[in-house]
């Protein structure tokens, strides 16, 4: 397929960019993510994991069962900073930063 075809729509990463990282030795989705930002947009790799895994498999000869899923991290859904800062629980670092500035600056 044409190398300019977009695989990660959120971060606009195409096949060519992914193959460049494969040539650097990438073996799993997260390797590609760290270098290209593939999978770091709003959908959080929900659309691009499978096609990227297929590209890795085609390039490395690994089977799809040897290519681990993208690592999920908090927050699982897009969350506004103001919402994050409204956490009512004590000890919220984000809240503290919003209210008092960065504690490291003091």
């Amino acid at each position: 397929m044409d190398k300019s075809v977009m695989i990660c729509r959120c971060e606009e990463i195409n096949i060519d960019e992914i193959e460049t990282v494969l040539k650097l030795g990438a073996e799993r989705f997260d390797d590609i993510k760290r270098i290209t930002r593939c999978g770091m947009g709003p959908c959080q790799a929900k659309m691009c994991f499978k096609p990227v895994a297929q590209l890795i498999s085609d390039y490395t000869g690994k089977s799809l069962s040897e290519i681990p899923p993208a690592r999920a991290r908090m927050p699982l859904r897009m969350t506004r900073m103001s919402v994050m800062a409204s956490n009512q629980d004590s000890g919220s670092t984000v809240k503290a930063v919003f209210e008092d500035g960065d504690p490291d600056d003091k």
């Binding site: 397929m1 044409d2 300019s4 075809v5 977009m6 695989i7 729509r9 799993r28 997260d30 959080q44 929900k46 659309m47 994991f49 499978k50 096609p51 799809l64 069962s65 681990p68 899923p69 993208a70 690592r71 999920a72 908090m74 927050p75 699982l76 859904r77 969350t79 506004r80 919402v83 994050m84 409204s86 956490n87 009512q88 629980d89």
Partner: protein
Amino acid sequence: MKTELIVVGGGPAGLMAALEAAEKNVMVTIIEESHQLGGQFRQQTQFLDSLPEGMPRMRGVELANELVKKVTNNDNIQVYTNHAVIGLYEDGRVGLNNGKEILSCQTEKIIVATGADIQAVFFPGWTLPGVMTIGASQIMVNRERIKPGNSTFIVGSSDFALEVALQLEEVGINVLGIIEKDSKFHYRKQALGEQVKEKGIPLFKNTFIEQAQGNGQVERVILNHNGKREEYEVDLICVDGGLNPIVELCQLYDCSFTYNETLGGWIPSYQSNFQTSADGVFVAGNAAGITCQGAVLVTGKLAGLSVAESLGKVSAQEANLIRSHYWSELSKVEQEFNPLVHEARMEHVQNIDQAQIKVYES
């Protein structure tokens, strides 16, 4: 907030799980990120096949309404729509985002019923406006009452693709054809194939999209049909790349995963009670492996029952009896749909010991 069971996802599996647990006196909290319960059933206007015992033949929307009504009238169930689970606290509380603030909810057990995402199909021009998944086109037509285009090709030949083709045709969209890249079609309901042919919608094997073109939106598509290039004017392309289970929450719980191609790829490993490798974390519905709608409902019942058992609301003896009954129901509806899927599920459940521990950790 405090509850005995959080059900993540208010779709068919989540609603069934909540009802099953609530019936056995579990205090249930459903967390649903959209503004409405019912999940993907909300736009399934076609009749559902292979429904579990005691459910008459009905359309997805009708069943959604029925389940929502039961859930709303159940005193043991609290519903939070417009709330999304976004993470976990160190002490086990579940973090929720309602768009205004972060709330936390303490719970004994959790059922992950987060469903699946429909996948795209990739070709030059697939990101042009006018290219969308068959699921998206169905939501537009059946839920939002918007006609997404005038003439279209459907890419993919699953049962769902054929159902959507018929629904689009019904609202006056000219379906020029259903194309399948493989040498055979993937739909399993022969009656659907007949219906599509009766409507005059052609089906093409060995056919794929070489390119979609247009200025700012889809205006034409170039097909490769048995090696021959054909060009058509269309303003809509509906693609079916299959379903992918949504299971990130299981990663936060450090659940073990297994790769199972037939069930949709990486899914959490679970036992016959649908509990994952993490204590108190259960899965249900398409998050436990892609299957048919009837099976989605039964897995919800299984997870709900097992939670009630683990909370001591049902004796182990009684739970085992009901569970074996539900499993035979699951096996019936799933075999009717596709014996290979049921075989894959059995294998998945039996192989929990060989699950790959935290494969996603790098």
